[in-house]
Protein backbone atom coordinates (compact mmCIF):
# COMPACT_ATOMS: atom_id res chain seq x y z
CA UNK A 1 0.00 0.00 0.00
CA UNK A 2 1.59 3.22 -1.08
CA UNK A 3 0.66 6.12 1.11
CA UNK A 4 1.56 9.66 0.24
CA UNK A 5 4.29 11.09 2.46
CA UNK A 6 1.93 13.82 3.59
CA UNK A 7 -0.73 11.34 4.65
CA UNK A 8 1.82 9.27 6.49
CA UNK A 9 2.96 12.30 8.43
CA UNK A 10 -0.64 13.06 9.39
CA UNK A 11 -1.10 9.51 10.64
CA UNK A 12 2.09 9.74 12.69
CA UNK A 13 1.07 13.07 14.21
CA UNK A 14 -2.34 11.62 15.02
CA UNK A 15 -0.79 8.61 16.74
CA UNK A 16 1.53 10.92 18.70
CA UNK A 17 -1.33 13.11 19.92
CA UNK A 18 -3.34 10.04 20.86
CA UNK A 19 -0.47 8.68 22.93
CA UNK A 20 -0.02 12.02 24.70
CA UNK A 21 -3.74 12.06 25.49
CA UNK A 22 -3.49 8.56 26.89
CA UNK A 23 -0.53 9.61 29.04
CA UNK A 24 -2.50 12.58 30.38
CA UNK A 25 -5.36 10.24 31.28
CA UNK A 26 -2.99 7.93 33.14
CA UNK A 27 -1.48 10.84 35.09
CA UNK A 28 -4.93 12.11 36.10
CA UNK A 29 -5.88 8.58 37.10
CA UNK A 30 -2.76 8.31 39.29
CA UNK A 31 -3.45 11.52 41.16
CA UNK A 32 -6.99 10.38 41.92
CA UNK A 33 -5.61 7.53 43.93
CA UNK A 34 -3.70 7.75 47.09
CA UNK A 35 -0.09 8.85 46.76
CA UNK A 36 1.25 10.64 49.75
CA UNK A 37 4.38 11.53 51.66
CA UNK A 38 2.65 10.69 54.94
CA UNK A 39 -0.55 9.03 56.15
CA UNK A 40 -3.22 10.65 58.31
CA UNK A 41 -4.63 9.20 61.55
CA UNK A 42 -7.93 8.57 59.72
CA UNK A 43 -6.11 6.38 57.22
CA UNK A 44 -4.42 4.56 60.11
CA UNK A 45 -7.80 3.94 61.71
CA UNK A 46 -9.21 2.56 58.45
CA UNK A 47 -6.17 0.33 57.93
CA UNK A 48 -5.13 2.07 54.71
CA UNK A 49 -1.46 2.00 55.64
CA UNK A 50 1.46 -0.25 54.62
CA UNK A 51 1.70 -3.42 56.69
CA UNK A 52 4.81 -4.92 58.31
CA UNK A 53 6.88 -1.85 57.56
CA UNK A 54 7.63 1.66 58.67
CA UNK A 55 5.80 4.66 57.26
CA UNK A 56 5.26 8.33 57.95
CA UNK A 57 2.29 9.66 59.79
CA UNK A 58 1.34 13.33 59.75
CA UNK A 59 -1.10 15.62 61.52
CA UNK A 60 -1.31 18.06 64.39
CA UNK A 61 0.03 17.44 67.89
CA UNK A 62 -3.11 17.32 70.04
CA UNK A 63 -3.36 20.08 72.66
CA UNK A 64 -2.34 19.01 76.19
CA UNK A 65 -1.31 15.54 75.01
CA UNK A 66 2.46 16.02 75.32
CA UNK A 67 4.08 14.08 78.20
CA UNK A 68 7.74 13.53 78.99
CA UNK A 69 8.77 10.08 80.32
CA UNK A 70 10.51 9.48 83.66
CA UNK A 71 13.89 9.00 81.96
CA UNK A 72 13.61 12.55 80.60
CA UNK A 73 14.34 11.41 77.06
CA UNK A 74 11.31 9.54 75.81
CA UNK A 75 8.19 11.53 75.03
CA UNK A 76 4.56 10.64 74.36
CA UNK A 77 2.09 12.70 72.42
CA UNK A 78 -1.00 12.22 70.28
CA UNK A 79 -1.20 13.02 66.57
CA UNK A 80 -4.65 14.08 65.38
CA UNK A 81 -6.28 15.10 62.14
CA UNK A 82 -9.25 16.39 64.18
CA UNK A 83 -11.23 13.24 63.28
CA UNK A 84 -9.05 10.37 64.55
CA UNK A 85 -6.00 10.20 66.77
CA UNK A 86 -2.86 8.06 67.05
CA UNK A 87 -0.68 7.91 70.19
CA UNK A 88 3.05 8.24 69.52
CA UNK A 89 6.12 7.25 71.55
CA UNK A 90 9.45 8.81 70.66
CA UNK A 91 12.93 8.79 72.13
CA UNK A 92 15.25 11.55 71.01
CA UNK A 93 15.64 15.23 70.28
CA UNK A 94 12.57 17.15 69.11
CA UNK A 95 12.87 19.94 66.51
CA UNK A 96 12.50 23.54 67.72
CA UNK A 97 9.18 24.01 65.97
CA UNK A 98 7.61 21.02 67.72
CA UNK A 99 4.62 22.38 69.67
CA UNK A 100 1.18 21.30 70.75
CA UNK A 101 -1.35 22.34 68.15
CA UNK A 102 1.27 22.50 65.40
CA UNK A 103 1.99 20.24 62.43
CA UNK A 104 4.22 17.21 62.79
CA UNK A 105 5.42 14.28 60.66
CA UNK A 106 6.70 11.13 62.40
CA UNK A 107 8.53 8.21 60.81
CA UNK A 108 8.21 4.86 62.53
CA UNK A 109 6.19 1.71 63.02
CA UNK A 110 2.69 0.99 64.17
CA UNK A 111 2.57 -1.46 67.07
CA UNK A 112 -0.01 -4.19 67.77
CA UNK A 113 -1.69 -2.01 70.40
CA UNK A 114 -2.15 0.88 67.96
CA UNK A 115 0.72 2.91 69.40
CA UNK A 116 3.09 4.43 66.87
CA UNK A 117 6.78 4.09 67.81
CA UNK A 118 8.61 6.90 66.04
CA UNK A 119 12.27 6.80 65.05
CA UNK A 120 12.25 10.35 63.72
CA UNK A 121 9.98 13.31 64.38
CA UNK A 122 9.93 16.26 62.00
CA UNK A 123 8.05 19.52 62.39
CA UNK A 124 5.92 20.72 59.50
CA UNK A 125 5.36 24.44 59.51
CA UNK A 126 3.09 26.54 57.33
CA UNK A 127 3.92 29.31 54.91
CA UNK A 128 2.89 32.16 57.22
CA UNK A 129 5.53 34.55 58.45
CA UNK A 130 4.65 37.40 60.78
CA UNK A 131 5.88 39.13 63.92
CA UNK A 132 4.72 37.68 67.27
CA UNK A 133 2.49 40.68 67.98
CA UNK A 134 0.59 40.14 64.72
CA UNK A 135 0.15 36.44 65.48
CA UNK A 136 -1.13 37.35 68.94
CA UNK A 137 -3.58 39.86 67.47
CA UNK A 138 -4.84 37.32 64.95
CA UNK A 139 -5.38 34.77 67.69
CA UNK A 140 -7.33 37.26 69.80
CA UNK A 141 -9.46 38.26 66.84
CA UNK A 142 -10.21 34.61 66.24
CA UNK A 143 -11.26 33.83 69.78
CA UNK A 144 -13.49 36.92 69.84
CA UNK A 145 -15.44 35.97 66.74
CA UNK A 146 -15.36 32.61 65.11
CA UNK A 147 -16.45 34.14 61.82
CA UNK A 148 -12.93 35.42 61.13
CA UNK A 149 -11.22 32.97 58.82
CA UNK A 150 -7.63 32.41 59.78
CA UNK A 151 -5.15 31.29 57.15
CA UNK A 152 -4.52 27.70 58.05
Amino acid sequence: MALKARHKRFILIGIGLGLIGLAAMLILNAFQSNMVFFYTPTQVAQGEVPKNTGFRIGGLVEEKSFKRGEDGLSVRFIITDTAKTVPVIYKGVLPDLFKEGKGVVAQGKLGEDGTFTASEVLAKHDENYMPPEAAEALKRAQTQSNTVVMPK
Binding site: L19, L22, L26, A30, N34, M35, K51, N52, T53
Partner: protein, 222 residues
Protein backbone atom coordinates in the same frame (compact mmCIF):
# COMPACT_ATOMS: atom_id res chain seq x y z
CA UNK B 1 3.71 -1.01 7.86
CA UNK B 2 7.02 0.43 6.83
CA UNK B 3 9.81 -1.41 5.09
CA UNK B 4 12.66 0.88 6.08
CA UNK B 5 11.55 0.70 9.69
CA UNK B 6 11.51 -3.12 9.65
CA UNK B 7 14.87 -3.19 7.89
CA UNK B 8 16.48 -1.07 10.57
CA UNK B 9 14.92 -3.20 13.31
CA UNK B 10 16.00 -6.55 11.83
CA UNK B 11 19.43 -5.19 11.01
CA UNK B 12 20.00 -4.07 14.59
CA UNK B 13 18.69 -7.34 16.01
CA UNK B 14 20.91 -9.32 13.65
CA UNK B 15 23.91 -7.25 14.65
CA UNK B 16 23.12 -7.86 18.29
CA UNK B 17 22.86 -11.59 17.60
CA UNK B 18 26.26 -11.58 15.92
CA UNK B 19 27.78 -9.81 18.93
CA UNK B 20 26.18 -11.94 21.60
CA UNK B 21 28.91 -11.14 24.10
CA UNK B 22 27.70 -7.55 24.20
CA UNK B 23 24.23 -8.63 25.22
CA UNK B 24 25.71 -11.00 27.75
CA UNK B 25 27.53 -8.07 29.34
CA UNK B 26 24.27 -6.27 30.09
CA UNK B 27 22.66 -9.45 31.28
CA UNK B 28 25.47 -10.48 33.60
CA UNK B 29 25.89 -6.95 34.89
CA UNK B 30 22.31 -7.04 36.13
CA UNK B 31 22.74 -10.49 37.67
CA UNK B 32 26.07 -9.73 39.33
CA UNK B 33 25.14 -6.32 40.73
CA UNK B 34 21.92 -7.63 42.23
CA UNK B 35 23.71 -10.70 43.63
CA UNK B 36 26.44 -8.58 45.20
CA UNK B 37 24.01 -6.73 47.45
CA UNK B 38 23.06 -9.70 49.65
CA UNK B 39 26.80 -10.37 50.06
CA UNK B 40 27.42 -6.81 51.15
CA UNK B 41 24.30 -6.25 53.23
CA UNK B 42 23.97 -9.66 54.84
CA UNK B 43 21.51 -12.47 54.35
CA UNK B 44 18.78 -11.21 56.70
CA UNK B 45 15.71 -11.79 54.55
CA UNK B 46 13.77 -8.95 56.22
CA UNK B 47 16.43 -6.42 55.23
CA UNK B 48 16.80 -7.95 51.78
CA UNK B 49 13.12 -7.76 50.97
CA UNK B 50 13.08 -4.18 52.26
CA UNK B 51 15.86 -3.00 49.94
CA UNK B 52 14.86 -5.27 47.02
CA UNK B 53 12.66 -2.81 45.07
CA UNK B 54 15.29 -0.08 45.04
CA UNK B 55 18.25 -2.36 44.42
CA UNK B 56 16.62 -4.24 41.55
CA UNK B 57 15.47 -1.05 39.89
CA UNK B 58 18.88 0.62 40.22
CA UNK B 59 20.55 -2.50 38.82
CA UNK B 60 18.14 -2.57 35.87
CA UNK B 61 18.74 1.13 35.25
CA UNK B 62 22.53 0.82 35.27
CA UNK B 63 22.43 -2.33 33.13
CA UNK B 64 20.42 -0.50 30.50
CA UNK B 65 22.76 2.47 30.67
CA UNK B 66 26.09 0.71 30.11
CA UNK B 67 24.95 -0.45 26.68
CA UNK B 68 23.76 3.01 25.61
CA UNK B 69 27.05 4.29 24.24
CA UNK B 70 26.97 1.47 21.64
CA UNK B 71 23.49 2.43 20.44
CA UNK B 72 24.65 4.74 17.64
CA UNK B 73 28.45 4.31 17.78
CA UNK B 74 28.72 1.33 15.38
CA UNK B 75 26.32 2.87 12.87
CA UNK B 76 28.28 6.11 13.11
CA UNK B 77 31.55 4.27 12.46
CA UNK B 78 30.37 2.27 9.43
CA UNK B 79 28.44 5.11 7.80
CA UNK B 80 24.98 3.55 8.20
CA UNK B 81 23.91 6.51 10.32
CA UNK B 82 24.67 8.95 7.52
CA UNK B 83 22.55 6.86 5.16
CA UNK B 84 19.69 7.06 7.63
CA UNK B 85 20.03 10.83 7.86
CA UNK B 86 19.87 11.10 4.08
CA UNK B 87 17.00 8.65 3.66
CA UNK B 88 13.57 9.99 2.63
CA UNK B 89 11.98 8.29 5.65
CA UNK B 90 11.50 10.49 8.75
CA UNK B 91 14.61 10.06 10.87
CA UNK B 92 12.58 9.90 14.08
CA UNK B 93 10.77 6.83 12.75
CA UNK B 94 14.00 5.00 11.93
CA UNK B 95 15.42 6.01 15.30
CA UNK B 96 12.37 4.49 17.01
CA UNK B 97 13.22 1.16 15.35
CA UNK B 98 16.75 1.32 16.73
CA UNK B 99 15.42 2.14 20.21
CA UNK B 100 13.00 -0.78 20.02
CA UNK B 101 15.89 -3.06 19.09
CA UNK B 102 17.89 -1.74 22.05
CA UNK B 103 14.99 -2.42 24.39
CA UNK B 104 14.46 -5.95 23.02
CA UNK B 105 18.15 -6.70 23.52
CA UNK B 106 18.87 -4.90 26.81
CA UNK B 107 15.52 -4.19 28.48
CA UNK B 108 13.46 -7.31 27.87
CA UNK B 109 16.06 -9.79 29.24
CA UNK B 110 16.16 -7.82 32.48
CA UNK B 111 12.36 -7.96 32.70
CA UNK B 112 12.39 -11.71 32.15
CA UNK B 113 15.19 -12.30 34.62
CA UNK B 114 13.69 -10.14 37.36
CA UNK B 115 11.42 -12.85 38.93
CA UNK B 116 14.41 -15.09 39.61
CA UNK B 117 16.36 -12.27 41.24
CA UNK B 118 13.21 -11.30 43.13
CA UNK B 119 13.07 -14.80 44.64
CA UNK B 120 16.66 -14.39 45.84
CA UNK B 121 15.52 -11.30 47.69
CA UNK B 122 12.65 -13.13 49.42
CA UNK B 123 10.00 -11.00 47.71
CA UNK B 124 6.41 -12.22 48.06
CA UNK B 125 4.64 -13.38 44.92
CA UNK B 126 2.47 -10.31 44.39
CA UNK B 127 5.53 -8.09 44.72
CA UNK B 128 7.36 -10.15 42.11
CA UNK B 129 4.53 -9.81 39.62
CA UNK B 130 4.45 -6.05 40.28
CA UNK B 131 8.22 -5.93 39.80
CA UNK B 132 7.91 -7.57 36.39
CA UNK B 133 5.00 -5.33 35.42
CA UNK B 134 6.80 -2.18 36.57
CA UNK B 135 9.94 -3.13 34.66
CA UNK B 136 7.86 -3.92 31.59
CA UNK B 137 6.22 -0.48 31.75
CA UNK B 138 9.31 1.43 32.84
CA UNK B 139 12.28 0.04 30.90
CA UNK B 140 10.99 1.34 27.52
CA UNK B 141 11.24 4.86 28.97
CA UNK B 142 14.85 4.11 29.98
CA UNK B 143 15.78 3.08 26.42
CA UNK B 144 13.92 6.06 24.94
CA UNK B 145 15.39 8.72 27.23
CA UNK B 146 18.81 7.07 27.07
CA UNK B 147 18.79 7.33 23.28
CA UNK B 148 18.69 11.14 23.54
CA UNK B 149 21.80 11.07 25.73
CA UNK B 150 23.55 8.58 23.45
CA UNK B 151 22.84 10.73 20.41
CA UNK B 152 23.98 13.94 22.11
CA UNK B 153 27.31 12.48 23.23
CA UNK B 154 28.09 10.83 19.91
CA UNK B 155 31.58 11.99 19.07
CA UNK B 156 32.11 13.84 22.34
CA UNK B 157 35.17 13.23 24.50
CA UNK B 158 34.73 10.75 27.36
CA UNK B 159 31.23 9.94 26.22
CA UNK B 160 30.72 6.95 28.55
CA UNK B 161 30.77 9.01 31.73
CA UNK B 162 29.02 11.90 30.05
CA UNK B 163 26.04 9.71 29.11
CA UNK B 164 25.67 8.80 32.78
CA UNK B 165 25.71 12.45 33.86
CA UNK B 166 23.16 13.47 31.24
CA UNK B 167 20.81 10.52 31.45
CA UNK B 168 20.71 9.50 35.10
CA UNK B 169 19.01 12.70 36.33
CA UNK B 170 16.30 12.19 33.71
CA UNK B 171 15.90 8.55 34.81
CA UNK B 172 15.08 9.49 38.42
CA UNK B 173 11.27 9.74 38.06
CA UNK B 174 11.19 6.26 36.47
CA UNK B 175 13.32 4.87 39.28
CA UNK B 176 11.14 6.46 41.96
CA UNK B 177 7.81 5.27 40.60
CA UNK B 178 9.18 1.84 39.70
CA UNK B 179 10.54 1.08 43.13
CA UNK B 180 7.54 2.67 44.88
CA UNK B 181 5.22 0.39 42.91
CA UNK B 182 7.07 -2.72 44.07
CA UNK B 183 7.28 -1.44 47.65
CA UNK B 184 3.55 -0.67 47.65
CA UNK B 185 2.49 -4.16 46.63
CA UNK B 186 5.04 -5.59 49.07
CA UNK B 187 3.20 -3.86 51.90
CA UNK B 188 -0.33 -4.70 50.87
CA UNK B 189 -1.06 -1.42 49.09
CA UNK B 190 -2.26 -1.01 45.54
CA UNK B 191 0.61 -0.20 43.12
CA UNK B 192 -1.86 1.02 40.50
CA UNK B 193 -1.10 4.76 40.82
CA UNK B 194 2.64 4.28 40.44
CA UNK B 195 2.23 1.86 37.56
CA UNK B 196 0.00 4.24 35.64
CA UNK B 197 2.53 7.06 36.14
CA UNK B 198 5.26 4.76 34.80
CA UNK B 199 3.12 3.99 31.77
CA UNK B 200 2.47 7.72 31.28
CA UNK B 201 6.20 8.49 31.37
CA UNK B 202 6.89 5.74 28.83
CA UNK B 203 4.13 6.98 26.51
CA UNK B 204 5.34 10.59 26.66
CA UNK B 205 8.89 9.43 26.04
CA UNK B 206 7.66 7.30 23.13
CA UNK B 207 6.27 10.40 21.43
CA UNK B 208 8.96 12.95 22.28
CA UNK B 209 12.22 11.00 22.63
CA UNK B 210 12.54 9.81 18.98
CA UNK B 211 12.06 13.42 17.82
CA UNK B 212 14.67 14.74 20.25
CA UNK B 213 17.03 11.87 19.39
CA UNK B 214 16.69 12.59 15.68
CA UNK B 215 17.47 16.27 16.27
CA UNK B 216 20.47 15.32 18.42
CA UNK B 217 21.77 12.96 15.71
CA UNK B 218 21.55 15.72 13.10
CA UNK B 219 23.62 17.95 15.40
CA UNK B 220 26.20 15.28 16.16
CA UNK B 221 26.62 14.07 12.58
CA UNK B 222 27.08 16.98 10.25
Amino acid sequence: MNNAWLTVLTRDLLQAYRRRSDIATTFFFFVIVSSLFPLGVGSDSAILSMIAPGVLWVAALLAGMISLSRLFATDFADGALEQMLLSPQPLALLVSAKILAHWLVCGLPVVLLAPIIGLQYALPNEAISTLVLSLLLGTPALSLIGAIGAALTLGARGSGLLVALLVLPLYIPVLIFGSLAVAASQHGMSPQAHLSLLAAISLLALVLAPLATAAALRISVE
